[in-house]
């Protein structure tokens, strides 16, 4: 048997750009400054051109790549394809890992190779925590300890993290924990419409306080065990748990909060303080082995989520509506990378995911009415099972040319059982849903072709085309009640509208073409410029329509025609086109032996999204935005002055009554000081205390009666943060 050969150099021999085609990576060092300013892992991605985030709770933003967000992206945490288990997507994959745990970030903002996942059309985000480390020699024990803490003045956010590891050459044990919490944040100007609606919480909410934006009791813990029984094989087992007592959502009608029956008052619910509202547990088993024939990666993971929602005290005091969901996911991957020849690398594999979901709302009150007397079953015994097989050939023809061709086939089966509402008031809707066949089988065929041309050490060009498929989620297919209160609770885009599922939805099929050019000096030290253009046509794009009049009497003329209120929508397959450009660059503008180096960095993104079936604009598309930063780096100091400009959002989705937002420019100041055993980060965000509305922040629903379409005035957007002074200290030993 021949000795194992290292593979990596083969496929990139001679090439300057060693990253996989289409990917942007951020190493841990690039994340430090961002970590100090947010406990929301999704926001670590905002520095990547083309990536923006939909506002949600304090740690639960949803990432969007070039206008495609949330479940249109393949988002993995340590290789686990984690699913949101909530009609409002309050617990998305990236909310389940604390930023302090994130070691690397990889984003496929263009075309995702088929080996990196299917059942997605918009790109991929791969978050990894540190891989297990082993001691270099037998008589050595590797020990590492890291501790960190932070404070941010706006919202009084605070937290800490601890990470301990000990390892021999064959065994590695690691424990980490982190905790964070925040009060509601403040904004720099008035944004609430007049009215009594905002005085009905348990306590007065200040005019410039963004109600329901705080969270408390977020605790993450993880134990990892690494086993290296030869120099070429590593087994890694991790168990992680996240518990969160409470998280408010200013653009949702509910919060993550645990409520339970009131023993003193039958039929009533009360908030259970300090009880986790969301408990997520994962077990992740990974194997990575270098063999004579190539590399083998295997993974098996299981995730369970117990999720509770109700209304926090910023909203309507004395009004409860418990909502619960239980979900579990079993997933796995088997992937082999086989060098067929020095030029050709074959990747072949299979992956699967088995998702189960129950979503029900216990009754409240004792009299038959809106929310009594049975469990409301929003999704009952939901199933979404997926299996995929793929093969991909990567060829380094010579130092200049590299190609990647892939094909992936997939099957997605989804189903849900019969449902019922709180009372017979819901019987007509339930009967309509129950009578229809709800089982769906989708077949996927994905194709990718990518080419990279690197003529010399100062330039490279990439281009690709792809066909990608995504099946509808359970929440797009199965929510069934047209009663506004029930439909309002199904909304993962945060626009305040009520959403109905559509069992007839077909999978989205996206055709993408993208190209990018990268110019830089030989060492990528003095200057660097990258330009990308992209266009995606999506057949059967899942957009929304006003709920059809024939469906129910609640889908009436008022609902069809209103342009200044929250409305009832239903998911529908239409056609869409997204196109845009991203650019980024940096240049060394000054250098001095004593003072250090001064760089000018910049990036800008623009994407246009339109619905070709209706002529409408797609919702939640980030307007033209740019960041320009002056960065000073010396050995220990990094100082940044950043200007962030976002233009007005005047192209909005009419069908969703999306609200326009004005343009704005923010100034952020950051400074960090690093030494051998530590790092201190200081930041003054929004230094000029500018008031602005978040273009993707959604509708402000954080206080008032969120249960009816008329309970909170329409037309308020969630604003951004007022000035905040952030401090973070991290030490390692």
């Amino acid at each position: 048997m021949p000795a194992p050969t290292p593979l990596a150099p083969i496929r990139v021999e001679g090439a300057r750009d060693e990253s996989p085609v289409g990917v942007t990576t951020l190493p841990s060092s690039a994340l430090d400054a961002l970590r100090s300013s947010s406990s929301d892992t999704a926001r670590l991605l905002e520095g990547i051109p083309g990536v923006s985030t939909y506002g949600a709770g304090g740690i639960s933003s949803l990432p969007s790549i070039r206008g495609l967000a949330d479940e249109r992206l393949k988002i993995t945490v340590d290789g686990m394809d984690l699913m949101s288990a909530c009609p409002n997507h309050m617990n998305p994959a990236l909310s389940l890992i604390d930023p302090s745990k994130v070691e690397t970030v990889a984003v496929y903002a263009g075309i995702t190779p088929v080996s990196e996942g299917g059942d997605s059309i918009g790109g991929a985000i791969q978050i990894r925590s540190a891989r297990p480390k082993f001691a270099a020699s037998d008589n050595e024990t590797l020990t590492e300890a890291k501790v960190g803490t932070f404070f941010r003045s706006n919202g009084n956010a605070r937290g800490h993290s601890v990470d301990l590891s000990i390892a021999s050459t064959q065994l590695s044990v690691r424990y980490s924990e982190s905790a964070s919490e925040s009060d509601n944040y403040r904004t720099a100007g008035d944004f609430k419409k007049e009215g009594f609606w905002k005085q009905l919480g348990q306590r007065p909410v200040a005019e410039r306080e963004v109600a329901s934006s705080g969270y408390a009791g977020s605790k993450n813990r993880e134990v990892g065990l690494g086993l290296a029984w030869s120099s070429n094989s590593v087994l890694h087992l991790t168990y992680s748990e996240q518990k969160l007592d409470y998280q408010g959502f200013p653009n949702q009608r509910m919060d993550m909060i645990f409520s339970r029956p009131d023993p003193a008052n039958p039929g009533n619910y009360v908030i259970a303080e300090n009880t986790p509202s969301n408990v997520n547990r994962t077990i992740n088993l990974r194997y990575l082995g270098q063999h004579a024939w190539g590399e083998l990666e295997a993974r098996l993971f299981r995730q369970t989520v117990a999720h509770h929602m109700d209304l926090n005290q910023d909203r309507f005091f004395g009004m409860f509506m418990p909502m619960k969901s239980d979900a579990s996911t079993l997933g796995g991957l088997l992937k082999a990378s086989i060098p067929l020849s020095p030029e050709h690398l074959l990747r072949i594999g299979t992956d699967f995911q088995q998702y189960r979901l129950d979503d029900w709302w216990p009754p409240i009150g004792l009299a038959p009415g809106a929310m009594c007397c049975d469990d409301f079953q929003n999704i009952r015994n939901g199933k979404r099972d997926r299996i995929g097989v793929f093969t991909e050939l990567e060829t380094g023809w010579n130092a200049a040319w590299l190609t990647l061709f892939g094909i992936r086939g997939g099957l997605v089966h989804s189903d849900a059982d019969r449902v019922q509402g709180y009372s017979n008031f819901y019987a007509a809707d339930a009967a309509r849903f129950n009578q229809r066949d709800r089982s769906r089988n989708d077949t996927h065929l994905d194709l990718t072709a990518l080419v990279r041309y690197t003529p010399d050490a100062r330039q490279s060009y990439e281009a690709g085309i792809a066909r990608k498929t995504r099946s509808p989620s359970l929440y797009e297919r199965y929510p069934w009640s047209t009663f506004p209160m029930a439909a309002l609770m199904n909304n993962f885009v945060g626009d305040g509208n009520a959403y109905l599922g559509n069992p007839h939805l077909k999978p989205e099929v996206a055709y993408t073409a993208s190209a990018s050019a990268h110019w830089h000096d030989e060492g990528k030290e003095r200057w660097d410029f990258k330009l990308s253009g992209h266009a995606t046509y999506v057949d059967d794009y899942i957009d929304a329509q006003r709920c059809p009049r024939a469906l129910s009497a609640q889908c009436n003329a008022l609902n069809s025609n209103a342009d200044d209120r929250y409305v009832i929508l239903q998911y529908v397959n239409q056609r869409a086109m997204l196109q845009g450009v991203d650019l980024s660059g940096s240049t060394l503008i000054a250098q001095h032996a004593d003072i250090g180096k001064l760089y000018l960095n910049g990036m800008a993104s623009y994407v246009d999204g339109r619905n070709l079936s209706t002529g409408d604009k797609l919702y939640h598309i980030m307007p033209l935005n740019a960041k320009i930063a002056l960065e000073h780096r010396s050995q220990r100091w990094t100082n940044t002055l950043e200007v962030h400009s976002v233009s007005a959002k005047d192209e909005v989705s009419r069908v969703r009554n999306e609200v326009q937002t004005p343009g704005y420019t923010l100034l952020n100041l950051r400074s960090s000081f690093a030494w051998k055993n530590g790092r201190l980060d200081l930041a003054l965000e929004n230094a000029l205390n500018k008031f602005y509305l978040l273009p993707l922040g959604g509708a402000y629903l954080g206080q008032g009666n969120s249960m009816t379409t008329a309970g909170i005035p329409w037309g308020m957007s969630v604003p951004g943060r007022a000035r905040s002074l952030n401090v973070a200290l991290n030490l390692s030993f």
Binding site: F196, P368, G369, N424, F425, F483, M485, A553, Q554, T709
Partner: protein, 234 residues
Amino acid sequence: MNRFLNFGVALALSAGMTVAHAATSYDVVTTWYEPDTQPNNTIFTGSFDYDAATRTVTNLQGQLSESMTGMMGGGMTWLSLDHQLVSWYDAALGGTFAAAFRNASTNTFWTGAGGNGWSPASGVAAGGVYYGFPSAGNNPGNAYALIFIPDDPLAALTQAQINKLAYADCAAGGMMGAVCMTGTSVAGYGAEGTMSGYPLSQTITAAVPEPETWGLMLAGLTAIGAIARRRRAI
């Protein structure tokens, strides 16, 4: 069924009293459109006596449907509004307002925002929150229907008159947590109801003529007898 019998009895009794007061009896059906609970609307069906000489309304009572509690004609709850506690003459609108309440008190809405605790305007100001807020135990579960009787009771209502019709239902089956179901118009009170409901129509018809009153009374008595007999059987 019992409810309808009781309703019949109430009608019969009120018709009987009409004779004593020398006022005329009328039936009324008032409808509030409820977009959120379609096809169910909130309906008040009742009766009253009207003295044209003094423009006085008496004995307003009836039943109010709870549109969230089930389907029309199948399991929907009807509340009895037996207490006519307020009425006044509005010269500008040319008619008389009267409201029948479920409880023997007007306490309906939270008074934390001011207001008299029952009027549609004070209900709008309080966001439709029930009296006794925030404690559910203090909510008296009141409900009312506010109707309008034009100077000529049988005349069709003008839109301006319809705009002022209102109802509130703070009984358990007509609430969303601390919020009562209400129906008001933007034109009349500056806001529509808590579930977007607003007044749609009202029809007043002359109550059954004299000779039949006695027949109804007899029917009512028979019904009472029937109920009594059934009770005994149980």
